[in-house]
Point group: C2
Chain length 202, copies 2
Amino acid sequence: MTANNDVAHDKLIAYFEKRTPLTESDKQLIRKLYTIKKLKKKEFLFRQGEYCKYEGFVTAGAFRLFYTDDKGLEHVLYFAFENWWVGDMASFYEHEPSALNVQALQESELLVIDEQHKEQLYAQIPALEKVFRVITQKHLTVLQKRFLVTVSANAEARFNELIQRCPTIEQLVPQHQIASYLGILPESLSRMKKQIAKREMG
Amino acid sequence: MTANNDVAHDKLIAYFEKRTPLTESDKQLIRKLYTIKKLKKKEFLFRQGEYCKYEGFVTAGAFRLFYTDDKGLEHVLYFAFENWWVGDMASFYEHEPSALNVQALQESELLVIDEQHKEQLYAQIPALEKVFRVITQKHLTVLQKRFLVTVSANAEARFNELIQRCPTIEQLVPQHQIASYLGILPESLSRMKKQIAKREMG
DNA sequence: AAAAAGTCTTAACATACATCAAGGAATTGG
DNA sequence: CCAATTCCTTGATGTATGTTAAGACTTTTT
């Protein structure tokens, strides 16, 4: 285990300790059960149609989770940065082929755990049941908000909502992937931004 | 406590027992902490902007959970029937005004619990932490699927997906609310069904 | 440095669905 | 059982966004 590995595990342990107290042996277990995985830019943690074998905690870099539809269009579900979780629960727990691709946007690092070790983690640190219940609830509320915005607002309002919620996003991911997150084509986003600029000049 | 009350609690206890073993005292606690609530057709459990004070388990009838946008359009997030959960987690746990309305589509009955009693439930029956973690994961995967279908398929494909997944839905809720679930106007759904019928006659 | 791959912009045209308007059918409620 | 709602359908027209095509600019790879 290198010094760098410890930094990654330190981040995860700090994340857990914000949510529940941990003993030293808890921390040792966490270091044992989560393993480091490094991905180069454009590499995939897993692809649509494969099984999501790992749940991942991002310790460095950035990811996008997206679905490719039958016309070949990509739809970004969310971007994940440091301290975010990536995975496909339906696939991880129900052993279904995943509907999602998880791809690194830059050289990135995660801590991953497979289902068996996750169950071991719950068995040995029951307090993490509550932690992950709360995390999952939070994810659900974020997705619900995202869904309601998507169905009720037009592309420009969705764009404004994104910029307000995540002001640095335009520095972090290319514009065509922002379009894909917003549910429009790159051409449409380009057009839209020109319209906005014209209006703000006028 | 009437005989009818016991039926409702029996349903909830049966639901829990499918997921974890319960002692007699667990069951007694569940009967104590969840209380019956009956709603007439069109009554609300809570409205958008109010606080979601109760998480509810539907024991009879049907509900719709919907968001009304700033143009006054209603967007159905989901319909809930027997053995489904209703509520707004963001509001229930974070004490924010709810983004959702929860309305009975018929004379309906639920078992409700407030946050304090929910915490008491977790404290006294820790196994329910896991049960609700898994339930919440399941809700998240269902919502993720719904989101991906919504952004990647056109209205007709979304309609077909709904009918296939829930073949009785057209008998259960009026067509304009199905339109609202699909994210289109009633006029569009009516037109669409005419097109489908014409094509199938052809 | 050159080549290749990826990214952004613009424009003309197409389309799915919204909007507006109106009348008829079905259901509900007094 | 009649009146009042609520619900459904149809048509004409509008609009946000998709589609296709092409060129310019940028970054990565060789």
